[in-house]
């Protein structure tokens, strides 16, 4: 190929080794090897002159010399070729370095600096380097070639100027010119403006691939160019030259289309051609093919960019490690200022200063062509890890260093992380409370963790390589001493099956409970339960099995126990007679024992989910529920009795013991154990009934006795009264003595009866305690006077000592107190024959307004023997049966006394010694009454009301309202206020009242009007209405009463009158009024008809006749009866006169006086006769 640049190849390799296909690559690079010289020695052997001649011989014939195996520029310089060739390619040290020199005025040194060093021991790099170099120097071909061309042009002009010939063939005649131009490496075309080519040199022919004669083509056809500036349109050069008439260069990217149709980058300049007198004749185009340079240039640019943008930090330093250049990544990574960086030592860089030691690097570089090491650098508090490579680049004698920092921090961190995780996993594996075995494909243990050791009491390292059965000392169940005979030989070994599954079918199993018998070190065989998981997994790339063992022997044992207990309990509950019922908090039955069927007739299943309370007797529900709730808060057991409904609807009594049960989930339930207690209950009920009956009977008896009081006293009244009367008459001695005995017997009987009645009343609860203020000292004195007399008669002393601290007036039931004192003092008197009796009253304490008063009745009587003390207060008991005969009494005295004291809130006790006397002590609380209250209580202003009244007060005056209300409130009445008659009417319509207090003078409706309107309402005919009036004039009263009022209270209100009027009208007012009405009703009887009157007369006459007979015979009782009959007859007839006389007769009959009876009879008879006469 003509276009190839000629190249001379020298090799100085000691072994003459040349890379394979070197020449082929050189060829591809656009060079053509024109001469080869091998071995340095051969070269050295040559004479210098010869060398120079040899090389110079090539000058012009080659553009490049490739020298292989030359270490130093000195040698190249020595060759003396630098100015002779365009390129010198030097391979240094086994193809490791290329140095290019160029001949065009620039020194080798200059070039050397700009050389990029690539190094690699691979031969292929050589070619890469060639490429790189090519690119580098093709970078700006115009710059390289221009001076030559310009020189050429100038030369051309100079030639033109210097040769002033007038021949037509001005150019071609000059051999010199032709020869010169022909020798040029650049193409030269001379053309006139018409495009006729005058001259084409050899180089131009090569570039344009035009080899035909010059006149066979035109300039346009030959020099067919495309310009990128003009969008690759053709430029018409002749026109431009003609127009501009000066030199110009074509743009950088101009391309030429050669005759073969290939596009080539060219560098071209055009000069106008002025020939002597002819002037501007045409133009000269000088150009060269720069395609290869441009390609190389492009590539070089890419490499340079690649370095610049490289993700590795790259820096180039000089031999002193002063930074010459650094790429972007470096600047970024080490956070340094590029300007400052350049020119300073790499070791001075703050972040590197610690990690990099100049000496070490230098030393290493002496020994090795490249240094590699890992360094850790702290940049801005971050630890970064780098692989550093330092390569020396030799440029002649000058050494440069390329330092490459590869950041592997992330990689390193990841590695550390991985390492840690691995360690963690190992820790987990070992620390797991579960035994873990890893079996390989041959079912041999490859790993075992520590838990295995503990679980099986073995050393995990001793079992590696064994089958799991042997390793774990599994004993074949059938024969305890027959150890597991390795994997698979145990028929039906479950673990084996699981391992199989995992290994063969790649199926895992989780948590299967398996029992194993394990041979222990002590020689015994232990049965153990394991929860086994077998999982297939990849262990270091090989299919393996992980077996996880959890020792659940204890859990299993507990579970078994639980099941056993449960079964046992089930057995009990299922077979017991009592029922067991469990309910939740909603009272729903969640368990019912089978015994429900026997006891209640329900199948347990039918009860589940139903409410327990549906079966409980309605009367027992609330109580049971309440008890249940109360106990729920205390969680205590409880016992209750309740009725449950059987399926047949009948109820049975159950005794239920409830237990609150809290399960593990915190759910609360209640378990009842119930037992049929119907029979017991019935017995109890019967007992209760009997008891109630007995009590009722006792009470009835007491009540009967209490009620008998009247009936018993009445005949006693007769006996005693009559005896007394008779004793008042004249009697003989015998009679009197007899009657005195009768009297004393009757009095004794009365005392006994009184005691019994009192006792009965207390028993029947009929004693009603009263509370009223009384003077204690006075009351006592009054009560004790009779005893004082009696004591005096018996010759005994009688002292009463009352504590002066006791307030004179106290509040309580004085009657009951006197009864007690009488009883005790009476007793004391009775049983004391010498010495005396003392009643001592002392105040023993005060609590709030209550004072406790102690009464002591001390006698010097016969005393009570110790053995009788205990029954002293018992009913119907006397110390000695003979006592009754000697001392009388019912034996109820002390019992009654004790009970009377107790119902007053007090207590009684005694001390006694036989023959020395007795002291009874009792204490009763009394309310203290202070002086003020005593006065208040003593004033009669506010009497006690009989009952609480509903009072309607009709009053418009505020003062009177207030006073009336105050007074009424004092009596505790309910008061409703009305301001006038209208309001009163409204209120009366809606409420009931016992009495109305009515003001007379009121606005709207006065009292009299209001009263008559109220009276018009039927239901208020008898409602007492009292006038409140200031009209105190006589005659007013009649007016009020005439208006239907029942009474009046004059204003200003006199308190006594106020209360007495109200009291009078409200206490039984109706019945008394009715009685009054009734006794005077005779007036209102309708007049009898004549017939009736006749009948009445006839009846009277018959009765009079009857009466006569009776009167004659002095039959008083019959006379009374007839009188009564006649009286009734007269009442019916409305005959007042007869009635009066009949009544008189009745009464005289009772007097049993014959004379009076007769006179009464006569009067009655006369009246009848008069009546009869009046008729006729």
């Amino acid at each position: 190929m003509n276009s190839k640049l000629p190249l001379i190849l020298y090799s100085f390799s000691r072994d003459n080794h040349l890379p394979k296909d070197l020449e082929k690559h050189i060829d591809q690079m656009g060079f053509k090897v024109v001469s080869k010289h091998y071995t340095f020695q051969a070269w050295l052997d040559l004479e210098d002159d010869t060398k120079v001649a040899l090389i110079k011989g090539h000058v012009g014939a080659c553009v490049a010399i490739l020298i292989l195996g030359i270490p130093s520029m000195d040698i190249i310089n020595a060759l003396g070729i630098v100015n002779c060739v365009k390129y010198i390619l030097v391979n240094r040290s086994q193809l490791s370095e290329m140095i290019v020199a160029m001949d065009e005025g620039s020194s080798v040194q200059t070039f050397y600096k700009e050389t990029h060093i690539f190094y690699d021991n691979q031969e292929t790099l050589l070619f890469k380097n060639l490429e790189g170099l090519y690119k580098h120097y093709m970078h700006d071909p115009l710059q390289i070639y221009r001076p030559e061309i310009e020189t050429g042009t100038e030369t051309g002009i100079g030639i033109g100027t210097g040769t002033e010939t007038e021949t037509d063939e001005w150019l071609l005649d000059q051999d010199f010119m032709v020869n010169t131009l022909g020798a040029l490496g650049d193409g030269v075309i001379v053309s006139d403006f018409s495009g006729r080519i005058q001259y084409i040199n050899q180089a131009a022919r090569v570039i344009c691939t035009y080899y035909a004669p010059t006149n066979k083509t035109s300039f346009e056809d030959l020099f067919h160019i495309l310009s990128p500036i003009h969008h690759y349109t053709e430029i018409f050069i002749p026109d431009r030259v003609y127009k501009e008439q000066k030199n110009f260069g074509l743009s950088r990217d101009t391309m030429l289309l050669d005759q073969d149709g290939k596009m080539k980058y060219i560098s071209a300049s055009v000069s106008p051609l002025v020939v002597g007198k002819k002037g501007l004749m045409g133009f000269v185009v000088a150009f060269r093919d720069v395609s290869r340079l441009r390609e190389a240039e492009k590539r070089l640019h890419l490499y340079s960019e690649a370095i610049r943008q490289s993700l590795e930090s790259l820096v180039i330093t000089d031999s002193e490690f002063k930074v010459l250049s650094a790429n972007l990544k470096f600047v970024e990574t080490f956070k340094c200022n590029r300007d400052k960086l350049i020119g300073s030592s790499i070791f001075e860089l703050a972040s590197l200063s610690d990690a990099l030691k100049t000496d070490e690097i230098r030393r290493d570089l002496l020994e090795h062509t490249a240094v590699r090491r890992q360094i850790t650098i702290e940049v801005e508090d971050k630890k970064l890890h780098f692989r550093l490579m330092v390569n020396a680049i030799l440029e002649g004698e000058v050494i440069y260093y390329l330092m490459t920092f590869v950041d592997f921090t992330k990689q390193r961190d990841a590695e550390i992380q991985l390492q840690r995780e691995r360690e963690n996993l190992q820790t987990i594996f070992e620390g797991l409370p579960l035994g873990v075995l890893i079996l390989d494909q041959d079912r041999k243990i490859v790993r075992a963790n520590k838990s295995i050791d503990l679980m099986f009491d073995i050393k995990s390292e001793t079992i590696i390589g064994k089958g799991q059965g042997n390793a774990l000392h599994c004993v074949k169940l059938a024969d305890p001493h027959d150890l597991c005979r390795n994997q698979g030989s145990c028929v039906g070994c479950r673990i084996d099956q699981l391992v199989d599954r995992a290994l063969v079918y790649n199926q895992g199993i989780t948590g299967e409970d398996i029992e194993m018998s394990v041979f222990t070190k002590t020689g015994s065989v232990e049965k153990k339960w394991f929860r086994v998981s077998v999982v297939p997994f990849d262990f270091e790339g090989v299919r393996a099995v992980m077996m996880v063992l959890e020792d659940i022997t204890e859990t299993k044992a507990i579970a078994n126990n639980l099941i056993e207990n449960e079964m046992r309990l089930r057995l009990i509950t299922d077979n017991m007679i009592d029922t067991v019922t469990q309910i939740n908090l909603k009272s729903e039955i969640i368990y019912a024992s089978p015994s429900h069927w026997n006891l209640l007739g329900y199948t347990p299943d039918s009860l589940i989910g139903t409410s327990l309370f549906d079966f409980i007797h309605p009367d027992d529900r609330e109580r049971t529920m309440e008890r249940m709730k109360r106990r729920l808060s205390t969680h205590e057991n409880f016992v209750t009795e309740l009725r449950m409904m059987r399926k047949d609807g009948t109820y049975i009594w159950l005794e239920a013991i409830g237990n609150v049960l809290v399960n593990a989930r915190g759910e609360i339930s209640i378990v009842y154990v119930s037992r049929d207690v119907t029979i017991k209950r019935q017995a109890l009920d019967e007992m209760q009934l009997a008891k109630d009956a007995a009590e009722a009977a006792n009470k009835a008896k007491s009540e009967f006795l209490a009620n008998m009081s009247h009936e018993i006293r009445t005949p006693m009244n007769g006996i005693i009264g009559m005896t007394n009367l008779t004793l008042m008459t004249e009697l003989n001695m015998d009679q009197r003595e007899n009657l005195v005995l009768v009297k004393s017997s009757a009095e004794n009987l009365l005392k006994i009866i009184n005691s019994i009645l009192d006792f009965s009343k207390i028993e029947a609860g009929k004693i009603i305690l009263e509370s009223h203020p009384f003077n204690l000292r006075q009351t006592l004195n009054k009560a004790l006077n009779p005893f004082k007399i009696e004591a005096k008669q018996k010759g005994l002393d009688f002292d009463v000592e009352v504590d002066s601290q006791i307030t004179p007036v106290i509040k309580g039931d004085s009657n009951r107190l006197i009864q007690v004192v009488n009883n005790l003092v009476g007793n004391a008197l009775k049983f004391t024959h010498k010495g005396g009796i003392t009643l001592r009253v002392t105040k023993i304490g005060v609590k709030h307004d209550t004072s406790f008063i102690r009464f002591e009745v001390i006698d010097t009587g016969i005393g009570i023997a110790k053995e009788h003390h205990h029954k002293l207060f018992e009913s119907f008991s006397q110390v000695d049966g003979s006592m009754t005969r000697r001392y009388g009494g019912t034996g109820l005295g002390l019992t009654i006394t004790k009970q009377l004291i107790e119902i007053q809130g007090g207590k009684i006790d005694f001390t006694s010694a036989l023959g020395q006397g007795t002291t009874f002590i009792f204490e009763i609380p009394f309310q203290e009454v202070d002086q003020y209250v005593q006065i208040a209580e003593s004033t009669p202003n506010v009497p006690k009301a009989h009952r609480k009244l509903r009072v309607l007060l009709v009053e418009d005056d505020l003062v009177n309202q207030t006073l009336a209300i105050r007074l009424l409130e004092k009596q505790g009445h309910d008061i409703t206020l009305a301001q006038n008659g209208h309001e009163a009417l409204q209120v009366v319509g809606t409420q009931e009242f016992d009495i109305v207090l009515m003001d007379i003078q009121m606005p709207l409706m006065d009292g009299i009007e209001a009263t008559s309107q109220i009276r018009n309402l039927v239901q208020y005919k008898h409602l007492p209405i009292v006038a409140l009036t200031a009209h105190a004039i006589k005659g007013d009263q009649e007016r009020f009463l005439g208006a239907g009022m029942d009474g009046y209270i004059s204003k200003p209100i006199q308190i006594d009158q106020f209360f007495s009027v109200i009291n009078e009208l409200t206490s039984e007012v109706l019945s008394v009024q009715q009685l009054v009405d009734q006794v005077s009703e005779g007036d209102m009887v309708e007049a009898l008809t004549l017939d009736e009157f006749d009948e009445y007369i006839e009846e009277l006459k018959i009765q009079i006749d009857k009466l006569l007979e009776v009167v004659k015979l002095l039959r008083y009782q019959q006379a009374e009866e007839i009188g009564h009959f006649i009286k009734n007859l007269a009442t019916t007839a409305g005959d007042k006169e007869i009635k009066k006389r009949a009544m008189r007769l009745e009464m005289t009959a009772r007097k049993e006086s014959p004379a009076q009876l007769l006179s009464s009879y006569e009067e009655l008879k006369q009246a009848v006769v008069a009546l009869e006469r009046g008729r006729s």
Partner: protein
């Protein structure tokens, strides 16, 4: 002097009649209603009773009611104080409530059965009644 006795028990009636006959002319009634009727009659005739003995426990109309009615009848007729009857209540019950009520309703005395003859006669003395000289 006129005395009215109201007592439903025969023996008690007889006793009172005999006892009080020593003091004056006694009329005897056997129940409350009759007592009221007789009392009214005496008022109408202006032949007043000076002393009335009322048993509290009587059938139909009890003594207290009789007492009140008598007092009302006297009120209605505006009998002057000197002419009004002295009324003594008798009862077999020894209950304070009734005693108080009878006093409130206007009785002058109270005697518990069996009647203590001496005590009763003392009370009569106090009320100004004296045995007739025989």
């Amino acid at each position: 002097m006129r005395i009215l006795i109201a007592e439903d028990d025969y023996v008690s009636r007889k006793f009172l009649f005999k006892l009080l006959s020593q003091y004056g002319e006694c009329d005897v009634t056997v129940d409350g209603m009759e007592a009221i009727e007789v009392f009214l009659m005496s008022l109408e005739d202006q032949n007043y009773y000076e002393l009335v003995c009322l048993d509290i426990m009587m059938p139909e109309v009890d003594g207290i009611k009789v007492l009140k009615t008598m007092r009302k009848l006297e009120d209605e007729r505006k009998i002057v104080q000197e002419k009004r009857a002295k009324i003594i209540m008798t009862t077999a019950l020894n209950q304070t409530d009734e005693v108080m009520e009878s006093f409130d309703a206007g009785s002058e005395g109270y005697a518990v059965k069996p009647i203590d003859t001496d005590k009763f006669m003392t009370v009569l003395e106090k009320l100004g009644f004296h045995r007739l000289n025989k």
